[in-house]
Symmetry: C4
Subunit: 193 residues, 4 copies
């Protein structure tokens, strides 16, 4: 009961985060040409990137809680902490998009991703601490290493943003791809367990 | 468990998409006459059309997942892909509404509908691939043909938008009606199965 | 399964409708005095009224679907039809609030309430048609008469708006109170059944 | 069934409230320096405070309804009453943030917190009245004293806002901390019961 309500609340928050970002793509008024949309291209690219990221978080959150046997008070707060950083994704997406991948907004984007990644690890550790010795969870720790690598790559991307924001953008796309592709392998492992 | 959470998340996203479109209908300030609403009429028509479309997607999504025996990683991502294109519906609705069914916005509206329709087919195929030989799903393929026809009609409507946007609008309404009316027949088939 | 998903989707839409109305209460910028909020008073009153109305719809929707044994295609669409009119409540609330209960916005508010009320009756009839001879539902028809009376009172209020918008506002408050107060009696009847 | 739908609806409303507040953090346009974010700092602090408060309400609401054996009509309305005051949190957060913790907005923030706190107590009493002599609920009354103390502290903070708004802000943070920290103790008691 408790677990399903935590999932429902997290689903609600993540669904809103993923959807309100589209409000940033404001349709230009009295401008009915495709060429009028040109200024929206960087915003659109940022939207796609963030949609994929929030989608990845939703999928991983789904797997992680599926692997947890229950919910403690610490897990509730670690979950809210993760949702807090995710809730800032629309803000940094808008800032990066409006300024066409300028250095500082691109670094800020990476910082929010890094903090969300760290919050995800904290949530994982909270579950591990509350239910130690849990086999499906232990297997899920395979993701843990990937999450730690992601946090390291975000740190690199933040630094790179001051030299070449497009390199940062590329790194963000690489990390996203890293999560998209081998996801199925882990899931199959979970399905077998 | 997994399936119900996918449904809950999709319901959340679709509920937000269908509802935030109404934010485009901004009440005119210091304008308290019915005639002040005249400029909102095309926006309102676009809102009605999009509400019906998103409603149709929700109903079909509901039937499709009901017919699926479970959820794989591929289905999760195919579902997010569908939600991505649906999330652009408020944007193209606003653009088409603000420009009173001008050619290019009307074509863009059709393009998003076409991509959402294609994403729906991809989701259907993902479910078919994950759970082959499933009877209620096979029967649901009846919808498949309708979905393919819809995608073709959207393509026609996109082309027509450059000659007569109102013809495109009419086509969008026809496709919507096509989904609204015989829906019950398929559902009865599913209920029998 | 089907019924719970219909409820979840409706809950999502109603939750969004009831919450986005507060976005109309825009905090005045560079205005930090209580007196700066004075212009928000009619908006706030409209917000309270609409919050109560949407709350009433949620409660009644909850009871009505609880009484229904299942969901047919017709019920799905009757439900979306109800949600459509409810989705216009934030728009008319904003229009009435911004114009301080002027005649035409106040009439428009009543029109949306009346159409939502009629849509509620259509939903009730759809459920009755799909599952005839259902005892808890038959008992729920007690609400039916109240719903029809409400629709009639909205019609009176729409007419009254052109003479005295405040009388209309009073009528809207009376209808709301009518639903708030004796609700418990019916619920007790349902609980006994 | 009834209880889970009340939870789902409340989750939806609270998820929207907690997420739309981030829309207030509007990314500055054509301003791509970290220093351009300086003016957002008070808004961000307010956002953090309100996120924590709404999170606390979600956690407590979760515990409270978990402890309740069922739902009556009175509980439905007491719950909507709580959601109403919570729905005003984004408004007062925006007002306080835009005016950098000025006296009157800071007092208004406290007033909404106080009314939400009172509404929480009313909800608790409604549950107690509907299901008297309930052991887990009786134990939950431990929270009751904390809720009453919070309401008293909000009253002090409202008064203090006219002399030193930062002292009020500090008090709001103290009350939040009070709920964050010993939450686990009560939860353990509930888990034992």
């Amino acid at each position: 009961m408790t677990k399903s309500r935590l999932e429902a609340f997290s689903d609600g928050v993540i669904a809103i985060i993923i959807t309100i970002m589209v409000l940033e793509l404001r349709a230009p008024e009295h401008a009915d040409r495709f060429s009028d949309l040109r200024s929206l291209v960087p915003k659109f690219l940022c939207y796609v990137l963030s949609f994929v990221y929030v989608g990845i978080y939703w999928v991983n959150h789904h797997h992680l809680l599926h692997a947890s046997r229950g919910i403690s008070g610490g897990i509730l707060w670690a979950n809210l902490h993760l949702l807090f950083w995710l809730s800032l994704v629309p803000f940094v997406t808008a800032w990066m998009g409006e300024n066409g991948f300028a250095s500082e907004p691109t670094a800020a984007y990476g910082a929010v991703l890094m903090l969300a990644g760290a919050a995800y690890l904290v949530l994982e550790w909270s579950i591990n601490a509350a239910y130690p010795g849990d086999a499906p969870l232990a297997r899920a720790v395979g993701r843990d290493r990937k999450a730690m690598l992601s946090v390291a790559l975000y740190a690199v991307a933040i630094g790179a943003a001051f030299f070449s924001p497009w390199a940062s953008g590329g790194l963000y796309a690489v990390v996203a791809a890293m999560w998209l592709v081998p996801d199925r392998r882990i899931e199959r492992a979970l399905a077998k367990g």
